[in-house]
Subunit: 457 residues, 2 copies
């Protein structure tokens, strides 16, 4: 009897944006409005997502209060929340299996700190850490780091390429079996298994070694969200999970096939990169209930917030001079940051012939991500169509409000997906790599080299 290949199953992330992904979700009667500083709220969410078998929690991030003006920002719950690495470290102590993915920018950090903190999180969690690599998108961030302007797209990606190489290199400075813990001989580790990195590049000179042991996963999982040309190239070379915003099956398929096709150029196979589009689900026991839930959320959006969000998605363009019930102007200039989001939003407006008012609501709802509402069966149908149609390896589930939006997905949609054999009944592995079906990177870097410990004062 030959061993059977296990059936391909969905990978699911739980995207935990404090009060939920819908811009007015915090106003829902059941929403935890103080989520941004309420650890008990996050512990409950993490433990529910883990009991439900999600691959990972995902936390977005920015290093500034971004977007919006003083009239609209106070109407959102996005201005002040926990910092992701500290929050995920806390959650590591009260969960056992679920993956923990934090967003960290390569533009406003140093690779030594990032390598070290993710290695530490990977040890704290027994191999459950993931790093969502972003290059940031706002001048507001630049101004918190002694710069006037956000660096140009090409510069950010050149830095990001080198940054990722330094981080993965630092993770490999200790060999897996370096530690001896030999009390009798007094040798704590084997000096031949510790290496300097001696990186000297255009952006960074980093000697190493890292002062944290090699992570349990070898490397924490590398996640990326950029969908621009440079973003896709970086992803094809280095990423293991893609979190992407796609609005239609056709677009998602084109993105999926294009990115998977890029992998071979980097000596990689399609199964080494999992593509997870974001999905914003509103689920009801009937279509009418789902529609009602959706409209109740939409009615909570203050008009000024919708326009501000749309402006932000277009790179800060001022739309106040255009009629709300007219079309998006044709002559918008593509912004320096977040190119792919600009293209997605303008494409949506053109394809569906939306007015500015309609586009505001669409953006405010799911912020560019795929929005679906319906019964558990119809939601499962749509997810299955993308999953089986070469558009997705799974989804990053973005509940409209929290905690109830996550509960709805767990209680209503997951049983239906399981009935169809599309989602795990329980975890079979213990690390995030095992959940995702990703292999653990060997420490190849030093195999061909002489050991060379040389640690300076």
């Amino acid at each position: 009897m030959s061993p059977q290949k296990p059936p391909r199953q969905l990978h699911l992330g739980a995207f935990l944006q404090a009060t939920g992904h819908h811009v007015a979700g915090w106003r829902h009667p059941g929403a935890q409005a103080d989520a941004g500083r309420n650890l008990a709220h996050y512990i409950a969410l993490a433990q529910r997502a883990e009991a439900a078998g999600f691959d990972a929690l995902f936390l977005a991030d920015g290093v500034a209060i971004r977007g919006m003006d003083d009239a609209t920002l106070p109407r959102t719950a996005r201005a002040a929340t926990f910092e992701p690495l500290t929050l995920l470290s806390a959650l590591a102590a009260v969960t056992q299996r679920i993956g923990l993915v934090a967003t960290v920018s390569t533009t406003y950090n140093e690779p030594f700190h990032v390598a070290r903190k993710f290695a530490s999180l990977d040890h704290l969690s027994g191999g459950r850490a993931g790093w969502n690599v972003v290059t940031s998108w706002s001048d507001a961030e630049a101004r918190n780091f002694s710069l006037e302007r956000h660096p140009a797209h090409a510069d950010r990606y050149a830095r990001a390429e080198e940054f990722v190489d330094v981080v993965t290199g630092l993770w490999d400075t200790w060999e897996d079996d370096a530690f001896l813990y030999d009390k009798d001989s007094g040798r704590h580790f084997d000096a031949d298994k510790l290496h300097t990195l001696d990186h000297r590049g255009a952006h960074f000179q980093v000697r190493g070694p890292l002062n944290v042991a090699r992570p349990p996963q070898g490397h924490p999982v590398i996640v990326q969200a950029g969908s621009s040309e440079a973003g896709q190239e970086l992803a094809a070379r280095t990423a293991e999970v893609i979190f992407t915003a796609q609005q239609s099956l056709a677009d998602a398929q084109a993105f999926y096939r294009g990115l998977k096709a890029r992998l071979a150029r980097h000596g990689r196979t399609p199964d080494q990169l999992k593509i997870l589009p974001g999905v914003f689900p509103v689920v009801g026991r009937s279509e009418a209930e789902a529609q009602e839930k959706f409209e109740a959320l939409q009615n909570l959006i203050h008009p000024s917030v919708g326009l501000a969000l749309l402006s932000q998605h277009l790179g800060g363009i001022d739309l106040s001079g255009y009629p709300l019930d007219g079309p998006l102007p044709d002559n918008l200039v593509e912004p320096n940051g977040a190119k792919s989001r600009f293209q997605l939003v303008t494409g949506l407006a053109r394809r569906e012939g939306l007015t500015i008012r309609q586009l505001c609501l669409r953006v405010a709802t799911a912020r560019g991500h795929w929005s679906i509402h319906g019964t558990p069966q119809s939601v499962a149908d749509q997810l299955q169509a993308w999953f089986e149609g070469e558009a997705a390896d799974g989804f990053n589930v973005m509940p409209p409000w929290l905690p109830g939006g996550l509960d709805d997905f767990i209680e209503l949609v997951l049983p239906e997906l399981r009935r169809r054999g599309l989602f795990r009944e329980r975890y079979t592995g213990t690390t995030l790599r095992e959940h995702l079906g990703l292999r653990r990177p060997e420490n190849l870097r030093w195999q061909q080299l002489e050991p060379s410990l040389a640690v300076g004062a």
Copy 2:
């Protein structure tokens, strides 16, 4: 009846250096040799220290593998451990009352990240965070951050002064009562209570605001360890706790009185700064047992490790050409980093007429900190003499090995201190500030200003 002032009591920190503070402590039969990547070990320690009523856990840090050469480093357990902020965040989730103090360097960080992470930890822990401000001391650190050499002492302290001001300023960008959470009106926070910082200094330009709400403690507690002139001035202006290395009652008294006297110049009172010398205790039920425990530890020190540690404490000076049984040479040059440690070690050698070999053992034992061994009564006598003799407001307890060295202090010494009324029976407050008797900083910065929310894209 007038309210009585409560008796002055000791403040105690638990200094948790992975396997313990003694350089060979990891070789003790009961030591947790893999402590640097064992979260369960730290959870047990934190929970024991909390059950015992310690004010705080202290974690040291460096952003490189520092000191030592390839022959001696593998004989220590110091090369690879958890990163402190991620570790303390994990411990925040499994403790309720104990303070959580992490060391973070101002030389190799950006103030926005540091302000944000400590604010986040303070929220995660319900007001238990503290920041031990250091300026680092090694070229090894510089080389992990694209520099060849560690910056000069004066430059580091000038940067540190400005860094601390930016961090505390960012903590104040949100007023305490900014958040409304008003679902009906749709106002999440009051725009009049969010402020930009607009810092423009010699080292940093930071606009703010911080994207984390004002910390529960107002400001996480500021701790410092530098004892140089510049370090003491920074401390007198900004620090609330001093962690210092002192070898004798007379030295400790001089330091204590000198530093407390500096406070008035900055408009501060003596009770606003708590001075906690490090103490390295070896406790036995009898003097003989304590001596035996101490000698057993000393016998575990490999000769090369002692010499390397001494060399490191003197700023990397090579002592291999001098006879081990002769005196320390007179013509040593004071190093760029860690000036106060250099002075402490050379002073100790001169005062006690120690040979290099004897000095090696003294440094290897407690690394410049006050080493005491004896019965619970004699240890308590010594601590009490410093506490009541204007030499200390409490101590940072540095167990020789872990977990047993901490257990010894808790089980043997604390009951004796309590019998004397010198240490709390239980916590009376919930925040680190309350444990330390420090007042919560008001948000004075904005009282005289017009509100001015102006958040850019």
